[in-house]
Symmetry: C2
Subunit: 419 residues, 2 copies
């Protein structure tokens, strides 16, 4: 059997298993999730040993410390993986939920109910915990999962997968509901992207390059976010102390993530009071500032000039571009033009202004007086997160169990025909 | 200005107008819809005159009678177009609807609200009434619309569009919210499909060839249905009189539409009683039957043998393939394998069996004891229809105003930061 046949057969068996899984009751899915959670801890030594093979490979290839950190399966991380699975067992099962129910004048009774998407392919990089987190969310939402991790985490992902699949074999869930693609075979992955007959959605989690590769090489629907170019706009009606705390948090608390602030906008009437202080504090926190001409004039210290390119850049780093604007509308235009429709914030005490911002900015999550760092499935109370979407169709913003479902209409009649 | 610049500029101005339209209150949108409805009737003579140019063209090219029928703007059709617009004014505005609202332990208050998609491109064939129907639905749901009709309806579409746009100019809605692409320029249309920066979704309405062309030539999300291969399964527990009526209706009442039955499945224990009668009545109604070996044996008349290809064919005509199955599971497998995930029906008095069918068949609309012909936005009570989706993401089944929206999260804080 060649590689393409093997991948097709894998996808077919995933689809078949997914159709069985779609009807498996919540209690049995939760039972499997709890068993899988325990198994990860029970096989901790095996996991750590396999992980060391990846770590040795990463060191020999001089990978960055950040990447090696993400790759390492410590006892703490394994415990978090266990908790993620057992917490997923506690979440409300979306499958079968009646979203709407209505009767037509001709007596037809129509129900709109949540059903699994079917087969979900998840492509990710480095972190081996995604293997168990994603499997947990897919199983709970009744979906079969086909995973492909990064080459650098080959042994770790295989070990996590083997433990979970062995455990699944002791439950009523068909083991083919979870599948792992060889992570050292990019052609196999490329071929999977052609199988729109069997795979219902692809969720790429990783760098922009990976996401572009997926989006450009498949006709399967992709849920994705390319970038998080998040803004905070400090209005002349802002509580400037609050604005200071929010901006510092949005930039500094964890700069390498998609919901961190990349550009700060300030109304000209607040700039004189606000900018000198925050620029100093940002610099103390190690942030490089790139300012518009007015910012550089007001701050009176040597800071870099922002180029046009800066407004369109997701730094994912301790760098911040700063712009002074004349009016709220200018801020809104800037965000709609240069942002990535992810998360944007206004700091203001003026409700009318806040309303205009919320209505006019075209982003997944809009904040009034809070840090953009809250855009996250856990922070939103979804109990989990499979990703964040900056697309508009199907799902927008943090995605969890509900976003892994679609619906179908059930129509109950008594012989009605159309006249 | 060359054609590509013109199309880009059109899409940009649509996006800009869409952002204004997104905040326009319901009453003003309804006012515009009612004005547009009246204008169509007021300018009936102009409409009819322009339509005649298309009809003359169609006749000179020897187009089919069916196509010429679809193209003709009679007084009745113009009145229906008027009614569609004024009925759309009566529908509930989805924009701004609070879908969910919840408070987090840290005091953040999160609202999930419906918002327009932005810019909707609709590509369609022959029927000029789609021009006004689609414009009405897009405006009501706060979306800018870019339309492209068929070359055969060039003058009619331009006339409808001119009347509506002139009327829009007398309202507070920016006229750029509706745009008509030159219908005789396929390159212009191809270029529009590249503008994923400005266009949020494409809805192709027409033959399979058109839909494939769109899906294969754009990175803009497409909502579509390729085919309607709909099944009715007559169980051995069916009320056979009811089954007879349902099957006749699903096949004969309007065979050229996507929700008509293409394949009839019968349990072997019902086949002897059911098949001879229905085959005779189908034949009387002009239906050509293509049967599986057992069907041909039971019916005892000369009917064509169904080939493997028949099970995968959307006839859109008075042709029906018929298959006898051994078990419910065989019917389910057949539908999941050969169907198009559109609309499928089981006729049975056995509730347990109905439940299994509803759980296991992977289609947008599933019927128990009713004709599949009800899959339609109006029949479902949505008041309108922009299309039917056999996709699983975003929208499934009949699509109307809600399906032309997405959502955003509004997060209200009092200075919350993430720790």
């Amino acid at each position: 059997m060649n590689s393409e046949q093997a991948i097709t057969s894998m996808a077919q068996s995933a689809q078949k298993a997914g159709r069985v899984l779609a009807s498996i009751p919540t209690s049995k899915k939760n039972h499997a999730l709890r068993r899988m959670a325990q198994a990860l801890v029970r096989h901790q030594d095996y996991l750590t040993a396999e992980n060391k093979k990846d770590l040795a490979g990463a060191q020999s290839q001089n990978y960055s410390k950040a990447l090696i950190d993400r790759l390492t399966l410590t006892e703490k991380i394994i415990n978090e993986m266990k908790n993620c699975l057992s917490d997923t067992a506690k979440l409300k099962d979306p499958v079968g939920q009646v979203m709407e129910s209505f009767k037509r004048p001709n007596g037809l009774w129509i129900q709109k109910i949540r059903v699994p998407l079917g087969v979900v392919a998840i492509i990710y990089e480095s972190r081996p915990n995604v293997t168990s987190d994603a499997i947990g969310l897919c199983l709970k939402s009744g979906n079969a999962a086909i995973l492909k991790g990064g080459r650098e985490a080959l042994y770790s992902n295989q070990a996590v997968f083997k433990i979970l699949r062995d455990e699944l074999s002791k439950t009523e869930i068909p083991i083919d509901a979870i599948q792992l693609l060889p992570s050292d075979d990019r052609r196999a992955f490329g071929f999977l992207l052609k199988l729109d007959k069997y795979v219902d959605v692809v969720i790429p989690r990783g760098g922009e390059e990976l996401i572009h590769f997926v989006a450009e090489n498949t006709r399967i629907p992709v849920i994705k976010h390319y970038q998080g170019i998040c803004h905070t706009y400090v209005s002349e009606h802002a509580d400037l102390n609050m604005a200071h705390k929010i901006c510092m948090n949005a930039k500094v608390q964890k700069p390498g993530v998609c919901n961190a602030m990349e550009t700060m906008l300030i109304h000209k009437d607040a700039a004189l009071r606000f900018l000198p202080v925050i620029v100093e504090d940002m610099q103390k926190a190690g942030v490089e500032i790139r300012g518009c001409p007015l910012t550089r004039k007001i701050v009176k210290k040597a800071i870099k000039a922002a180029s046009e390119k800066d407004w369109d850049t997701e730094y994912l780093d301790l760098i911040l571009s700063v712009k002074v604007v004349d009016r709220l509308e200018e801020a809104i235009d800037h965000i709609n033009t240069h942002g990535s429709h992810h998360s944007d914030c206004i700091v203001t005490e003026d409700k009318k202004e806040a309303k205009q911002f919320l209505q006019s900015v075209d982003s997944a999550c809009l904040y009034v007086n809070a840090s953009t760092r809250f855009t996250d499935g856990h922070q939103f109370g979804f109990g989990a997160e499979i990703g964040i979407s900056t697309d508009k169709l199907h799902a927008r913003g943090p995605m969890a169990l509900n976003e892994l479902t679609t619906y179908k209409y059930l129509v109950f009649g008594k012989g009605q025909i159309r006249s």
